[in-house]
């Protein structure tokens, strides 16, 4: 009896262990349609529902295809696990760079028509092409989502015109004065729970990319311009006193709550949260504010971009299947029925012709979109940087954080990060 029980137990364990090792078959569902596995991560609440409608329409319009939508958490782990298990989805919203092995992706360059190539432009094509010449992302949108956002009601109460600031821009001194005017005993002028990221953005915009994009690779953030950025931002707490040091001890969602309670007039956040903040804070209008100029220099924003990756399947599903996947990718990359999902975070279509067609509609009633569009058109794509730049960015953010917390001065921060960057380059 004992032995039978033991054999049964071992058999069950073995079955469960080896059940994953099944022979991989073609992805065709029971109705003989080509199955396309499609993963998205929600950038705002309700995005999943919008994708459900898109997928439903596509499935109805393309009876030979069945797109299976999965809304995944904003976490790379499911994708990593799927790749390790050699069962990746066909299409995924892919915000990685070329960190994953090059052979994980299908090369999309062959599917780019000459018209599309011209529409996207060489900068975007180059951005989505890895060092081995493989195009690993199909362009979907361009964006810059991290901005200063201001409570329009409080700004106007203080006699300020946020739309004028949007149109004319402002200097660093104007920005500080605005913060002082909108603050009182119970309200702070400015808050930023992600200072290292903001300083990083300003450094990119005012001192150039962290390293040179051509050889010999040089570190660019040991300059006076970089020191001015670090010093000015740190002074918001310690000299100008428009930002409380306490804000370093909360996260961005804690800052949102305080913004909703009108304890801050201007914060640095992501613009995808604007509708939510307006509703919960009972704010009639939140304005996206341009980054203030420093030393008479405008902050030249890096334009981010997002796209879709098509992962290589094992075994291969065949060229016909891949063409259907690409067709789906091209479909979801364009505005659909007058809607463009990334517009929720002020993303614009990556294709120039789509932008020209869609932008007037987007900017019609919303000065925020007009501001973002203006900066995106004048900005430049975040350049492809050597791998060492990622480590350098980490180092800069580390010392920025120490400087903002008061542990070191701005000068010490710049000296330390320059020293570490020098070691990496040597």
């Amino acid at each position: 009896m004992k032995r039978r029980l033991a054999v049964l137990l071992v058999g069950l364990v073995a079955l469960s262990v080896f059940s994953g090792c099944v022979k991989k078959t073609k992805r065709i569902d029971q109705q003989k349609k080509d199955l396309i596995q499609f993963w998205v991560a929600e950038n705002f609440e309700g995005e999943g529902k919008q994708w459900e409608k898109v997928v439903e329409k596509y499935n109805n319009d393309n009876p030979d295809v069945k797109v299976e939508l999965s809304v995944k958490p904003w976490d790379r782990t499911p994708l990593n696990v799927a790749l390790q298990a050699k069962k990746p989805p066909d299409v995924v919203f892919h915000y990685f760079s070329d960190e994953l092995p090059a052979d994980a992706y299908e090369d999309l360059l062959d599917y780019l028509t000459p018209q599309e190539k011209e529409d996207f432009g060489p900068e975007i094509i180059q951005k989505f092409t890895n060092s081995k010449g493989k195009m690993y992302n199909w362009p979907w949108f361009i964006f810059q989502t991290a901005w200063m956002i201001g409570n329009g009601d409080l700004l106007k109460q203080a006699g300020l015109d946020p739309e004028q600031i949007q149109n004319d821009g402002w200097t660093w001194e104007n920005f500080i004065n605005t913060c002082k005017k909108t603050s009182d005993g119970e309200r702070y002028g400015y808050g930023d729970a992600q200072s290292p990221e903001t300083v990083n953005l300003l450094l990119n915009g005012l001192a150039g990319p962290i390293v040179s994009t051509t050889k010999p690779v040089e570190f660019n953030w040991g300059t006076q311009a970089a020191l001015n950025v670090m010093k000015n931002y740190r002074d918001l707490i310690y000299k100008d006193k428009v930002m409380p040091k306490e804000v370093l001890g909360i996260d961005v969602f804690g800052l949102h709550e305080k913004f909703q309670r009108k304890e801050f007039s201007i914060i640095r956040s992501w613009i995808a949260w604007i509708p939510d903040l307006e509703e919960k804070g009972n704010i009639s209008k939140i304005y996206i504010l341009p980054y203030p100029q420093m030393d008479n220099k405008e902050v030249k924003l890096n334009v981010g971009s997002g796209g879709w990756s098509v992962f290589r399947q094992e075994p291969s599903q065949g060229e016909a299947h891949l063409e259907k996947v690409i067709a789906f990718v091209k479909y979801i990359s364009k505005p659909m029925a007058g809607e463009f999902i990334p517009s929720n975070w002020s993303g614009l279509p990556a294709s120039r012709s789509d932008r020209e067609e869609f932008l007037p509609q987007m900017t019609k009633d919303d000065p925020n979109i007009a501001l973002v569009a203006k900066f995106l058109e004048s900005g430049s794509m975040t350049p492809a940087l050597p791998t060492v730049a990622k480590k350098m960015n980490e180092i800069v953010k580390t010392y920025t954080s120490e400087a903002m917390s008061g542990k070191i001065t701005a000068k010490q921060a710049v000296e330390k990060w320059s020293a570490e960057a020098g070691k990496l380059l040597n």
């Binding site: 004992k2 032995r3 029980l5 033991a6 054999v7 137990l9 071992v10 364990v13 073995a14 262990v17 790379r76 782990t77 990593n80 960190e99 994953l100 092995p101 290292p196 040091k245 306490e246 804000v247 370093l248 001890g249 909360i250 996260d251 804690g254 305080k258 304890e263 791998t387 990622k390 480590k391 980490e394 180092i395 580390t398 010392y399 954080s401 120490e402 903002m404 917390s405 008061g406 542990k407 570490e420 070691k423």
Partner: protein, 296 residues
């Protein structure tokens, strides 16, 4: 029963025994041993996400040169140096106090003191994140009552690590307390009676009888506390992301970052192995110096 029959029965029972433990061994091999061996191989053969073949000690050298490694090691050691003694002594005194209570009161006390253990580290970290809120948090409210000015806690490099340590020290000692209580129950009452007759007070009894006789339990608690404190991760990840700067970066947080943020498989596995070697080394030293006269 003749010898061959007895041997046959023994063999059948032995086979049954092996089959019963087989699932555990299979699970151990698949989910512990294999990943361990693979990690060792990865630390010597991977750069980034690519297998590049034998790279020798390149990844290990890179670890030691990394600007964030030594601060992470330092933070981990400081954290352990405070949390481990707290994990040894606080539950001991709690257990000693609980033993003085009536049985009914003991039940309530044990339940209350064990309750925090039921919460996950993530939930505890989130709650303490609110407690440490520099604007409206409970901690600043409490210290304000005794005249201490409000602190930034998690946003200040000077207080962030202290904040995490304080959380760990106060968070819960329920399971260690229960271990001590169980061990105290095994000490013969005659010893305490003799001590009472000799005029020993509560502290003298605790110090000269209870503590020495709990040595095996203390050794176990010490080893387990060191192992868990050296692997501290959740508070650093949830509450501070290792910051401000590197003020709360721990070794395991650094491993996580290198693996899942920077996809440096070779470096992350090298760091993990270094940590494993250190923990094993400390455990062996503990056994060597503190377990010599421990009997189980």
């Amino acid at each position: 029963m003749n010898l061959s029959l007895r041997r046959g029965i023994h063999n059948r029972e032995a086979i049954a025994g092996y089959l019963f433990v087989a699932p555990v061994y299979i699970a151990f091999i698949l989910f512990t041993l294999y990943p361990l061996v693979k990690s060792v191989i990865m630390s010597f053969t991977m750069v980034g996400t690519e297998y590049v073949g034998w790279v020798g000690l390149q990844n290990y050298a890179a670890v030691f040169k990394d600007y964030a490694w030594w601060p992470s090691v330092k933070n981990t050691i400081i954290y352990s140096a405070v949390v481990v003694p707290a994990a040894i002594f606080i539950p001991f005194f709690l257990a000693a106090l609980v033993r003085l209570m009536t049985p009914a009161a003991q039940t309530i006390a044990k339940s209350c003191l064990y309750l925090p253990q039921v919460s996950s580290g993530l939930v505890m970290s989130l709650v303490w994140f609110w407690i440490y809120d520099p604007f409206n948090g409970l901690m600043n409210y409490l210290i304000g009552k005794v005249g201490i000015p409000p602190q930034i806690w998690l946003g200040d490099a000077n207080t962030a690590l202290l904040a995490l340590i304080l959380m760990s020290v106060l968070a819960g000692h329920g399971s260690n307390m229960l271990l001590y209580l169980a061990a105290m129950g095994g000490i013969p009452n005659t010893l305490y009676e003799v001590a009472r007759l000799e005029g020993a007070n509560w502290w003298q009894t605790l110090h000269n009888i209870t503590w020495p006789l709990l040595r095996p339990t203390v050794l176990y608690v010490m080893i387990m506390s060191i192992i868990s404190s050296f692997q501290v991760f959740t508070p650093a990840y949830v509450m501070t992301r290792g910051g401000p700067g590197l003020a709360t970066s721990t070794v395991v947080y650094k491993i996580f970052n290198d693996l899942f943020t920077y996809f440096s498989f070779g470096i992350a596995t090298a760091e993990a192995l270094l940590l494993a070697v250190v923990i094993i080394g400390i455990s062996l030293i503990q056994f060597r110096f503190f377990a010599s006269d421990v009997e189980y």
